[in-house]
Amino acid sequence: MPDTALDALRSSGRIVVVGASLAGLRAAETLREKGFKGSLTMIGDEPYEPYDRPPLSKQVLLGKASAAGTALPRRRAIDAQWRLGVPASGLDMAGRRVKLADGDEVPYDRLLIATGVRARPWPNEAEAELDGVFVLRTRDDGAALARRMDAGPRRVLVIGAGFTGSEIASACRERGLEVTVAERADAPLVGALGGVIGAVAAELQRENGVDLRTGIMVTGLEGDSTGRVRAAHFSDGTTLECEVVVVSLGAQRNTEWLLGSGLGAGPRGIACDAGCRAFDITGIVTDDIYVAGDVARSPHPLFGYQFLSLEHWGNAVAQAETAAHNMLSESTDRRPHIWTPAFWSTQFGVNIKSVGVPSMGTEIMITQGSTAERRFTGVYGYQGRIIGAVTFDNARWLEFYRHQIESTAPFPPPYPTVDRRAEGSRPVPADFPDPSVPTHGPTVTLSGYSPADRRLTFTPAR
């Protein structure tokens, strides 16, 4: 039976998107592509039209692209009303209205929340205010940091060696700047990729002239009389002179504006079902509010139905497309967001890619290539199955391992591959600082090639 309410929505409904960045834009484009003819409002607190963030820690810091030149390419015209430079400040779920900080209210029939994350600031506010202390999340951040790097600081300190921190350090070295990286864990990237790969990343940094200090914390930043940062103090009692500090301590979800709205939003993000519909605080799924991108947490059948929050470019795009599709679909035509996580980074001339959820892995096996040559594929295992994979300059194989993950193939892989070396003869502990241990559960495999024909096959616990 045709759904007349849905027809009305498609032809003259009001869809509001909060968060005018990657997920917001791709959702809007998908809505128009699927024939949505109603009104579309894009609300974004940044004054810019949607732009791309990954270049900010790569080409922009190298001076190969300007921060202002990172506008996202448009797939099609979206004919939207743009409310840029104004944050949404509240949500009236019953009245179906988004409140804006300037006092305006925007009514909606369907709402997409794509407010993403922001950089976690340096915890000491006064120190964070010092001239020369940066975070890197926005175009403005990127422009300011690039300008400061142009001035040739004598030393840059990067606090935190996750992907962004490591990329910033890489950019510094490529520009010939002295850089120190301080990391609480024993190596860079351990949170995402574990200690075995972290050790490779550490060597990579040191070989490239980074002064990498691990197992250490920055306890304080010190300014000079003019309010410029001049030094940092470490937990081992040492002090380092530096003119620029980049705080790279991860992200915080932009959910504060939803406080008290009744939506299930908090510091860990906004929980939604696999169809991208947001939960309210009682755990009931809403029918008119959808979530996509970095701010979302959604259950993934392949990974024990855990709620995954993924700060991945590809996830934002795929989830936005699914949310847009589902907004305009009858319940039986809705699709699950069952994108297999995938991530890339470039640093120190190496192309790093991962697929699946390496951090769930307890063991790793180098199935191809060699870590010493910095060209390899590592496969992560969890409870006898392949759960993730990482490649260093070996990305062409990743597609195969994605398929292995989706079909819950056994770990360690029982087959030989081309380029298997001695170090890949058996698995070793993946060495994550705090392995997350989800419960035993049934097995689910994914199949199908296009989003429309992806299928789940459910196999009760073995």
């Binding site: 199935t367 191809q368 290539g369 060699s370 040559e373 060209r375 594929t377 062409r396 194989w397 597609e399 195969f400 398929h403 087959y415 030989p416 591959t417 081309v418 380029d419 090639y449």
Partner: protein
């Protein structure tokens, strides 16, 4: 050895239109008739296998005697030259390909192909001018052209010579060797086999000696060509002289017959679709999507006979045993209705055009940027300059070769050749 549909595919009588056979083949995505190779013909399976690290391109992983009617007889090249990276697995493959890429493409040499545009334009112009000069009618009456002999054949060899840095005065000798080697890829049941093998072997030897001399010279007097750069490399990222020789031979062979066929198939397809030919004259930008669609619709490399599994692998319920011969039929995958809408329609406006014509994965065509540019330029210029071209024979006579499939001659009539 009776192999049903595979015998038909290899049979020359089906060369002009193998596509109905491929459609038949796709009904059994992994075809195996008991003794022959395992033949994969559906798009998604081929794509997955091209990215599967359990598959080797190295013949040494084949079980001795694995039945394959396309298995190469030992032509002696393995005795004289090590295999090129096309037939190697990582890490050797990756190392050699990486070194070869340094003077060829980004990131180290982003301008190599672009810088060949001038040579390319000039070569195309000269070839068509020669055709114009050689034909009798000069404006009046009908001109007859064999596109293969007069254009498609000489063009790619000239470009490889320029790429490698073969001096112009030696190009003619290079053409003779290249033609002999190309002919050796095309079995001729009527010829004296021993005599043919000897001719091929001689050409190979002479080419090898010539290249060795050239490399020696470039070591002393380097220029800005690929051989000079490859010869000058030192340290870990450099090749031995033998590796360099087999790489140069690989570039010559892999870039020759393939491009010949792309251009010939392209012109044939255009003459069969006059509306597209007409559009190409008025929309120069059409050349880019047109060549992509050609690589899907009439791919010069019809199948890859090179792969061998390192372990038993299961594909669509069929277990392909370790060491077995496998064929990946790119041309069948390119017309898989599960992947492409209206796959048998030639449609240069197709948006979704991830074809298999240049392979995929680590062995995906090394020369792709050059091949594309050559075909785009050649077809645009032929479309522009030939007046009212038409096919004199359809289908044209095809070469024996079922893998590198293409016409032996393409006879065209036209009313004249524009300047």
């Amino acid at each position: 050895m009776k192999q049903g549909i595979l015998t038909d595919i290899l049979d020359h009588s089906h060369r002009a239109d193998p596509y109905p056979l491929y459609a038949e083949l796709r009904k059994t995505p992994v075809y195996h008739d008991g003794e022959g190779p395992y033949v994969v013909s559906t798009y998604h399976e081929i794509m997955a296998l091209l990215h599967d690290p359990r598959l080797s391109s190295d013949q040494r992983n084949r079980t001795a005697g694995a039945a394959d009617p396309l298995a190469e007889e030992d032509t002696g090249d393995s005795a004289t030259l090590p295999p090129g990276f096309l037939k190697l697995d990582p890490p050797e493959h990756d190392r050699l390909r990486r070194i070869t890429n340094r003077p060829f493409g980004p990131p180290h040499s982003p301008h190599r192909i672009e810088s060949m545009r001038g040579d390319l334009d000039e070569t195309v112009k000269n070839l068509i001018d020669d055709i114009a000069a050689g034909t009798s009618g000069n404006g009046e009456g009908t001109e007859r052209i064999d596109l293969v002999d007069q254009f498609s054949y000489p063009f790619p060899v000239t470009m490889i010579c320029r790429l490698l840095g073969v001096p112009r005065e030696d190009e003619a000798r290079f053409h003779v060797w290249a033609d002999t080697l190309a002919a050796s890829l095309d079995p001729d049941p009527t010829a004296d086999q021993a005599e043919r093998a000897k001719v091929t072997q001689d050409a190979r030897m002479e080419l090898g000696m010539y290249l060795a001399g050239l490399i020696e010279d470039r070591r002393k007097n380097p220029r800005d060509d690929m051989l000079s750069h490859l010869a000058a490399a030192t340290g870990e990222e450099s090749m031995s002289t033998m590796e360099l020789l087999s790489t140069a031979a690989l570039l010559l062979i892999a870039g020759h017959e393939t491009t010949v066929n792309l251009i010939t198939n392209g012109m044939l397809t255009l003459l069969r679709h006059p509306d597209v030919l007409q559009r190409l004259r008025s929309e120069p930008g059409l050349a880019v999507p047109l060549v992509e669609e050609l690589l899907r619709y009439e791919p010069p490399v019809q199948l890859l006979p090179q792969r061998t599994p390192l372990v038993d692998i299961e594909i669509r319920g069929v277990t392909v045993p370790k060491g077995a011969a496998m064929w990946l039929v790119l041309a069948a995958g390119n017309r898989d209705p599960q992947r492409f809408e209206n796959p048998d329609r030639f449609d240069p406006d197709r948006k979704d055009i991830q074809h298999l014509g240049l392979g995929s994965g680590i062995h995906s065509c090394f020369g792709a940027p050059l091949a594309r540019l050559e075909a785009q330029k050649a077809l645009s210029e032929l479309a522009r300059r030939l007046e009212n071209p038409r096919l004199l024979e359809d289908p044209p006579p095809y070469r024996q070769n079922a893998v590198l499939r293409g016409p032996r001659h393409l006879m065209i009539a036209c009313d004249g050749i524009r300047p």
